[in-house]
Amino acid sequence: MAQMMYRDAVLQTLFAEMERDENVVVLGEDIVGGMGTAGGPEAIGGIWSTSVGLFDKFGKDRVIDTPISESAIVGAAAGLALAGKRPVAELMFADFIGVSLDQIWNQIGKFRYMFGGKTTCPAVIRMAYGAGFNAAAQHSQSVYALLTAMPGIKVVTPSTPADVKGLLTQAIRDDDPVIFMEHKALYGTMGEVPDGDYAIPFGHARLCRAGQDVTIVTLGLMVGFCEAVADKLATEGIGCDVIDLRTTSPMDEEAILDSVEITGRLVVVDESPPRCSLASDIAGLVTTKAFASLKAPPALVTTPHTPIPFARELESNYLPSPDKIEAAIRQTLAWR
């Protein structure tokens, strides 16, 4: 086990997989940086420092710095994948899926089915997502629900450096398209990462805290918030199951249902707006499949249904917080 930052787990996994399989290629804006400048290549290595040194090691054919052209970046990943490569494309910010949506939604996500199973499309699209930096409405969104709603795409949202390694390894080796979402506020967090070959199969949630009284389902940055609240409530004798989904597609329904069957109470914590959301999806799952177990209505902690505001006071009030999570849990426990 090595201690490592979340961002370094991304970089080291890319490095290891590129070394292992020469079909793995990476592409994106400024993933090398400095191309066509006096300073020369490797001026940045990705704005999140997740590709530092790849160009030096693997060269320009496999580490492709691109112009600002998200539609062509994702489309090229589609073509690379169809032609037998294993592309890992980077969108600097998840918000930029807007520019490239057709290639994700109508192309990459549909090839396997639409072509009658003749092909797979082993493309990985990495993207930095999430709020907390006052980056406002177009650089802060958590777009996993939108992508999870698209058939044919796997969506991965690691919350720890270890999961970054395990899930990114799996994503690159997976024969199907994977959206790999890295939370911006987690890049600098540290954690233990297993040595050697380490892949985590998709669709297996992680139980971060175990308790009998309430089931908390969450992902990404919110995992840490929920763990903190669970630890606090544990001192009062309230036990929480905290379930980190890890992947929203496929989703580990069994883990959620098994837990709710014991606790009878569900709180979903989701850093995105409430309509047609991950939170409402999970509430729907539990009410349709574990209705008899429920002792209280599911509680959903989401953002409001608005774009993300800029000012510090606005953004902090917009986001789910440990206080809001705690209040929702207490309300659920107090129900009738």
Binding site: G36, I68, P309
Partner: protein, 323 residues
Amino acid sequence: MQLSREALLRAYRQMKVIREFEERLHVEIMTGEIAGFTHLYCGQEAVAVGVCEHLDHADMIVSTHRGHGHCIAKGCDVKGMMKEIWGSREGICKGKGGSMHIADIDVGMLGANGIVGAGSPIGVGAALSAKIDGNGKVAITFSGDGACNQGTTFEAMNMAVVTKAPCIFLYENNKYSEHTGVSYSVGTNKDIASRAEAFGMKIWRGDGTDFFSVHDTMRDVLEYVRAGNGPAAVEFDTERFFGHFEGDPQRYRGKGELDHIRENRDALKIFRARVTEADLLSGADLDAIDAEVMTLIDEAVAEARLAERPTAADVLTDVYISY
């Protein structure tokens, strides 16, 4: 054409406001008081002002992530902008947008934009509106040497050509898109204008560090577009004095590059030299503006610091539907 004394003073003042607004932000951002991503326009002042001095509020511009200069030049309230960047509810967008999303439709400023390349199609639509109204107004979309590579930009140019939209595709080539050089990102041998020409537009080029070059060029461009000839494209060669965003280590720069451009490619220095050498304005005229602008910026910062902060309730306003 010779500009009047008033016009020259006004142009200088506008450039100076942009310069000091940005220089001051560069300092204030280091204190940590200002949140979010901020992209400074220093070095490119001659472009925004050389363009917007030809426009009135009914002409429209569409801006970029590096939008402060465009906003000021088009007539957005400077103090309101400073308050916005400070995240105050008294800001020009109530603290909801911040640096990257400043807009004031009333003055024809249709918005800065956080999505690179999003502005060009919006400009086409605004221009089509002017065409429908037959009012001789134009829309100008500002794009960088990076944004010019977005498919949206290509689509917008072609659509403007086929619809004869009075739209001006204005390219500010500051030679960098974030950390990447234009010689790498633009395939046509560093030239953006000739690519626009291939779409069927008439093109112009000018020196984007020289107010007079920009202003003269734009006079011709605007005359052509206002006359109903359809869209046009213009490329200005310019410089970015700071990093891409505040905090950029700028490892892509050459040795001495920043000193060189500050020394030789400074729009304010160039303007001062031109007008004083030709005896159009005196050094004292310009010094007086400098002092006045410093006071304005000091006031803007002081007021922004004290301006009312937004509250939790403000998160839920300006929506169509409340849940």
